[in-house]
Symmetry: C3
Subunit: 354 residues, 3 copies
């Protein structure tokens, strides 16, 4: 996964790109091998110093008019390309890999910025970049090739593996464990206390709630990416667990003692309540709400904004909610829905009259 641009202003020839991708380069003229490429673009917007890609044959018609220098595509689609071809078994994957070579974002400066505040007992690996304003408290362990960006906070006893990147303004609370090759976007908070309280009303004490200390932590595997302003709470007794190869979008809320299986993808604005277990290779769309203390099997897909209130025992696709309508129709449907029980009774009455 550690694909990094090697040049400050990236330029690669088509020949070099074919080598990088393990793609077969098909050109109409041998000199095209040396065409200099400065970036990627879609088929419709590409100019003649860009590479494009065709990931799905159903868009094959866009090939005819592309101005790209070359297109990453499958063997079958190559027959229809008017421009140079970079033939690859999985064009979308090849495009994804190539994108990193043209990422304009500069690499982080290796070293510790003098404004960073780092406790004396922190262990720091090789080739680490610690940005301005970063705070790292006691007994933190940081692996090799780690980037901790500006104004992020790493509280005490945190462990960070190799090749991890924290973007600016990330918070890792006490004792959180982060694996290797993890990326955490800005504003995310890993390891806040969860929402756990014992009600006090029954004893008529002068408070409503007794907070429960969250003595567990958060453990995150390898190659996990966490989007911006996402929160993953620490466990109460045991740890909250995010397995390897999980990808999580922005503004996702993962409550205490949730466990997410490897390979699962969770889109933006989804919330998962406490102690729920999500299997491996699930696809959870945006805005989904999953209740606490349930289990979702491996390979489950959940459509956007679904309310999941019970365990799902085997793979499949699930949904709830109603279709969007104009407000006039929607008002009528919503009203009729509330009369549905009565309508059933009327149909039953009609049936009994036969």
């Amino acid at each position: 996964m550690n694909i990094e641009p090697e040049k400050p202003y990236p330029i690669y020839t088509l020949y070099e790109i074919a080598e990088l991708l393990g793609a077969v380069l098909k050109v109409s003229n041998e000199s095209d091998n040396d065409i200099r490429i400065v970036g990627l673009a879609s088929l419709t917007s590409a100019s003649d110093n860009r590479v494009s890609f065709l990931a799905n044959s159903k868009y094959r018609s866009q090939l005819a008019s592309t101005a790209a220098a070359a297109v990453i595509l499958s063997d079958d689609d190559a027959l229809f390309s008017p421009v140079a071809c970079l033939i690859h078994e999985d064009p979308y994957l090849a495009y994804a890999k190539l994108s990193h070579y043209f990422n304009p974002r500069p690499k982080a400066v290796i070293g510790i910025h003098p404004s960073a505040v780092i406790a004396s007992n922190v262990k720091i690996g090789d080739n680490v970049s610690i940005g301005p304003g970063v705070v790292i408290l006691d007994h933190v362990f940081i692996g090799d090739n780690v980037v901790i960006s500006s104004n992020s906070v790493v509280e005490s006893a945190v462990t960070i593996g190799d090749d991890v990147t924290l973007m600016p303004n990330v918070t890792l609370n006490f004792g959180v464990k982060i694996g290797n090759e993890v990326i955490i976007q800005s504003g995310s908070v890993i390891g806040a206390d969860g929402f756990g309280y014992a009600p006090l009303a029954s004893l008529s004490e002068p408070h409503a709630w007794q907070k429960i200390a969250h003595c567990g932590s958060v453990v995150i595997g390898d190659r996990v990416e966490i989007g911006a302003n996402t929160t993953i709470d620490r466990g109460v007794l045991d740890d909250t667990l995010i397995a390897s190869d999980v990808i999580i979008d922005n503004q996702v809320h993962i409550a205490h003692n949730v466990s997410i299986g490897s390979g699962t993808a969770i889109a933006g604005c989804t919330g998962i309540a406490g102690s729920t277990t999500i299997g491996e290779d699930c696809r959870i769309a945006g805005g989904v709400g999953i209740t606490g203390h349930i289990s979702i099997a491996d390979g489950v897909s959940i459509l956007s904004m679904t309310r999941v209130t019970r365990s799902i025992k085997q793979a499949g696709t699930f949904a709830s909610g109603t279709s969007m309508q104009t407000v006039t129709k929607w008002r009528k449907s919503a009203a009729r829905l509330n009369q549905l029980d009565e309508l059933h009774k009327r149909v039953k009455a009609l049936e009994s009259q036969k």
Copy 2:
């Protein structure tokens, strides 16, 4: 828009306020021109050193008992006011403008706080305020009259126009472009990588996902306001676009390559998935979820918590979901909904028996 209080402890006479607003002042006694006003208040809570407003004639009855020194209102409503009148064509707009004169928030101190970390090649305009703990990386361009508040981070190659305010703990990631007169509330993240990956399973590599580098940026127009803890992700190839005069509330999630047309308002907790285009002057309520790769026409209104899963081709108001009920009734409706297909068949059977 740059309406700023001119006095540290704002006091204005009614006469001065009429001048500021271009309102017609109607008093019962000429000495009332000199009544000293210290702030605004609603009709029901105002005391005699406050100005109130009546934006909607249907609340006209509240005029009778107000203790305000004066009321901003329309010509028609003025006939019913027992107190001094500030007559204006658009009372709500006049109130909105006046509110800035009584804002107690102190103006930011011009200058660069010594604790800020600013790269040597940053270009900074006139009358700029850079607060404590701010980090500004290489090759950033900052216009005139910009306020960057405490502990905000501006990554390299960002461009910020004139009269922009970043509240504390904002993050602008690499290369983001911000227009003039933009306000970004605390905790928001502009320019995080979007949620873009190629699946790896098909090639049986030992990872689930190949991250796609986000080589695009975020471009924000003029007079845009962004609420607290909102996230706007950078584009993959092209940029994510927020046109001028867009207003965005708290905790909104705008994914990569979304485009929002000018004048559109987006309320809290709404999420917009990747590559969707929203037209001009739309009104999107709170908690709405909009799927990716669709288009919403100009002038569309979407009610709260609607799931938008298809393009909307012309102006109108749209909704989905069901009405709130007591849990007993709701359980019955929800169960009946799942029997709806069967009910249709029963009705059809009855009909065929005729």
Copy 3:
């Protein structure tokens, strides 16, 4: 509520724990009084140096096989315990209290870190901890035993009571008032401007919106806990109010001029629009959306992801939405729902044919 561990590496004997909790200790062997306990665990995962708890008699069967050193439980359940008993009237509450003695999180270091930036006119109480990178602006008042963690920002004129903890990267905007014993998790923003604008289109000015200055503040009572990345906006004219003993989870959005009554609990991802009043002792589940300018009575429970669009006048439980189904069944139900008005008419036609 100020229950704090008294030892750096907490170890307590069963006897000491019984004393701390006011529990009756029942052992089979007097030497068991001296068993040394290092932490808490669930009945099924506990080892012999841990205390567990049984909060609900319906899980009584788990007692038989527990390896815990002792279990906190009720008098009735004690009869079934094979291990030492800590008998308490409210086992869950006793467990919640005990959890704080075993919290591994180190206590904050008293004192002001030299990297913190604190205005000269800030008033600071006794036993206060101000972490690295913290910014505190003019005329802030801070009570005793307050912890302000790394890189948090407290803007000018904020008031903070006694025994308050701000976790890292919290923002308190201008003038916010925080009571005693309040905890705010990382990334939360208290006091951002709300989403208030007057439309300009009617006057054909060259902008779409006139921002309304938010001259109110946020006032938070005692013993309030606010989760991570939650936002509570300041009021326009009056203040946004969070009463004492309110608990708020992560990623909750509370708009301007909302008022929340004491003892109310609000779970993650819920949004409450402007000027709405929520009563005391309400239970609002996750992902709920509550519209603006309505009132919710005391003691109301709202199920997850409910859309609340009208006032609720008396206690009860409320819900909206549909049940989750497989996508095949759901498509059918959703389609049928849109034909519901027509179905009603068909049933009516059948009835009239009688």
